[in-house]
């Protein structure tokens, strides 16, 4: 009995399919190879052209064009992160038109270098980063960079305090994703509410945090408080806090997002640390604790926030600070 015609067609298709698949695969591979060699050629031409051009520009200007160069050796000194942040803000505000930042960091075993890269990310722009594993690695790279670093290090050592320039305020350009995550976090809790960020000093007199925060929430209805410290720095158990006390590190927020929270909150009270600086630079009403128990970084004065830009009066922020830290904690 002969097969119906469509079954012949199916048999034929079965025979032809593997051949067609092989031809197709071969064509795809050939196309991929041609494309990748074209990329090789284009890449070499592009690299040579831009590479020589850039070398010429550096030669003419004696510095990288349209670039702010910042050099820092990470160390374990108290306030090193704050000094870096403040110097960075001053430099960026002084040269606000530059499109690129070249940041050279010498890493240290004392603390994570990634904290510093996150701080640098708060200023936006194209960040060309160079991390040296140690000082020896830096020496191998050459004298120009090493001399810049030693100059930078000398500046850091000799200054007790770094005066933040007036122009530095408003210079932050945090990454969108972190900034949006911070804002949405606040909105998800209470879109109309008032949030005050807090960062406890890690040095100096230890406070009984749990009872202090509980009392603060009780005495200030209408406010929510965001504890920015991670639990690396804070001692003691912080379980069973009232719902008005928020702990973003418990929600898995990284350091960059917590910096953005400092800049997004309605007010800031606490240490003159990187969170305090972020709030200051974002023009948030802030009350920084006195320098006696803190790395002295900026010369802060109450009332430096833009009054019309924000909805929280200065005296209310002062009152919150006094409420939590007591009048004696002020510098």
């Amino acid at each position: 009995m002969s097969k119906p015609p469509f079954e012949h067609l199916i048999d034929f298709a079965r025979l032809v399919k593997p051949v067609l698949v092989r031809i197709l695969n071969f064509t795809m591979r050939a196309y991929g190879n041609v494309k990748s060699y074209a990329r090789l050629l284009f890449g070499l031409v592009e690299t040579s052209f831009y590479g020589y051009w850039y070398a010429l520009l550096v030669h003419k200007n004696e510095t990288p064009p349209d670039t702010l160069v910042i050099v820092h050796a990470v160390n374990s000194d108290a306030g090193d992160r704050e000094r870096f942040f403040a110097r960075f803000a001053n430099k960026v505000s002084k040269d606000s038109g530059c499109a690129d930042i070249d940041l050279l960091l010498v890493a240290s075993d004392a603390q994570p270098v990634t904290t510093y890269t996150a701080l640098a990310r708060m200023f936006g722009r194209r960040l060309n980063l160079q991390i040296f594993a140690n000082a020896q690695a830096l020496v191998e790279v050459g004298n120009v960079v090493a001399s810049e670093l030693s100059q930078g290090a000398a500046d850091t050592k000799t200054l007790e305090q770094i005066q933040l320039s007036e122009k530095a305020t408003g210079c932050l350009r945090p990454p969108f994703l972190s900034k949006n995550t911070a804002r949405e976090y606040l909105k998800s809790i209470d879109p109309m509410g008032r949030f005050c960020a807090i960062s406890f000093p890690t040095a100096g007199k230890q406070m009984e945090l749990k009872s202090a925060l509980t009392e603060l929430a009780k005495r200030n209805p209408g406010w929510r408080f965001i504890l920015l410290n991670d639990l690396i720095a804070v001692d003691g158990s912080l379980d069973e806090l009232p719902p008005e006390i928020l702990m973003p590190s418990r929600s898995g927020f990284d350091f960059l997002t917590r910096l953005c929270l400092a800049a997004e909150a309605d007010a800031y009270i606490g240490a003159a640390d990187v969170f305090g600086l972020a709030a200051y630079l974002a023009l948030r009403p802030a009350y920084l604790l006195g320098s006696s128990s803190l790395p002295a970084v900026i010369i802060a004065k109450p009332g430096w926030m833009s009054e019309d830009a924000y909805r929280v009066p200065v005296d209310e922020v002062e009152r919150l600070a006094a409420d939590l830290f007591g009048a004696s904690a002020r510098g």
């Binding site: 990748s36 060699y37 990329r39 090789l40 890449g43 070499l44 592009e46 690299t47 040579s48 052209f49 831009y50 590479g51 020589y52 051009w53 850039y54 070398a55 010429l56 520009l57 550096v58 030669h59 990470v74 690129d100 070249d102 890493a107 240290s108 075993d109 004392a110 603390q111 994570p112 270098v113 990634t114 890269t117 996150a118 990310r121 194209r126 960040l127 060309n128 980063l129 160079q130 991390i131 040296f132 594993a133 690695a137 191998e140 790279v141 050459g142 120009v144 990454p175 994703l177 972190s178 991670d230 639990l231 690396i232 590190s249 418990r250 929600s251 898995g252 990284d254 350091f255 960059l256």
Partner: protein
């Protein structure tokens, strides 16, 4: 010759270059460790020269077509979160992150003119042809030299990790676990590789009575665990306390045994000296790592380093963990309750 270019050429002669160009390479933890080990193999083949890592994240094309969800507004956070992984390279001299095309070209031109050894090779880089996940080169190196350059704890995280140990792990024996749960993330991918959360939950519940001194440290993305895991008394999640990838890697590379599914952290364990058992090893991956399905160890594995190809069930996990627990410290045998 312009002095700036002469400097780059001079620097290129003194190092081996690792180029991770995210225009064609993925932002992926596991692939980063494989890439780093390949890079170390190249450096060792060149007499142990220091390594310079070049990361390319140009805002105009920050990611490959494989990761279309990463764009010029979101890559910064993803790179920042991945950065500690690159600090695990022992022969590292420096890392450079380029966001400016001209500066990148200048660096690469120096390397081309100096004919610097690199991973991938400069030709492969320009062709956009990176072997970022196979063990071909690694296995060949091990076959020839009977050793493999291992990764180490990232620098800078030691003192903070010790704080974590002191505050939260005192008196307990930590075990790092990683339960792959990409289905819970904003970027679900390759869900067939995901772990069975129920099996892990049951395992951890049983482990509480069977190994009372064991304390399980869940490592990995904050969104990759179900809430019920956080409530288990024998489990701690460092990312709930402000710790991150760098601290987790420090714990792992400093010898805390690893027990978890085949994913980014398992790749870190693979190239470490740490005892581990990798569960749920993907059969499809056998050809990439150059082993037949069912092989119990990588060719370059150390004594207490195992693979499991079986699907995860409570019993499978209990048996595998029992072997790891006993193997990693014989003195602990008396702490096990049968």
């Amino acid at each position: 010759m312009y002095p700036a270019l002469a400097t780059e050429i001079d620097l290129s002669r003194k190092c081996v270059l690792g180029i991770m160009d995210f225009r064609y390479a993925p932002y992926a933890l596991g692939d980063t460790f494989t890439w780093l080990t390949n890079l170390q193999v190249v450096a060792h083949s060149r007499g142990g020269m220091p390594i310079e890592i070049v990361l390319v994240t140009l805002p105009e094309k920050p990611a490959s077509p494989m990761q279309r969800h990463i764009n010029s507004y979101s890559y910064v956070q993803i790179l920042e979160n991945l950065l500690p992984a690159f600090l695990t390279c022992p022969s590292l001299r420096n890392i450079r992150v380029f966001e400016n095309r001209k500066k990148l070209s200048h660096r690469l031109l120096g390397a081309v003119l100096a004919r610097t050894a690199s991973w991938p090779s400069l030709t492969a880089h320009f062709r956009g042809n990176l072997d970022y996940y196979t063990h071909t080169k690694i296995n060949a190196f091990y076959a020839e030299y009977k050793t493999l350059p291992r990764l180490r704890a990232p620098f800078g995280f030691h003192s903070e990790t010790e704080i974590f140990r002191t505050k939260y792990l005192a008196g307990r024996i930590p075990i790092i676990i990683n339960i792959r749960q990409r289905a819970l993330t904003n970027d679900p991918q390759a869900l067939l590789r995901d772990s069975a959360a129920d099996a892990w939950y049951k395992f951890l519940t049983t482990a509480r009575s069977r190994w009372p001194s064991a304390f399980f440290v869940i490592a990995g993305g904050f969104n990759e665990w179900e809430r019920r895991f956080a409530a288990l008394p024998n489990v701690i999640i460092p990312r709930m306390f402000g710790f991150g990838l760098g601290h987790e890697l420090t714990l792992l590379f400093k010898g805390t045994p690893f027990f978890g599914s085949s994913s980014g952290f398992s790749a870190a364990a693979t190239f470490s000296n740490t005892p581990y058992t990798i569960t749920n090893f993907e059969h499809r991956a056998a050809k990439f790592v150059g082993m037949p399905v069912g092989t119990e160890r990588y060719p370059f594995a150390l004594e207490h380093q195992w693979l499991s190809w079986k699907p995860e069930t409570e019993q499978v996990l209990l048996d595998l963990f029992d072997r790891l627990w006993e193997a990693t410290d014989d003195n602990r045998k008396d702490t096990k309750v049968r």
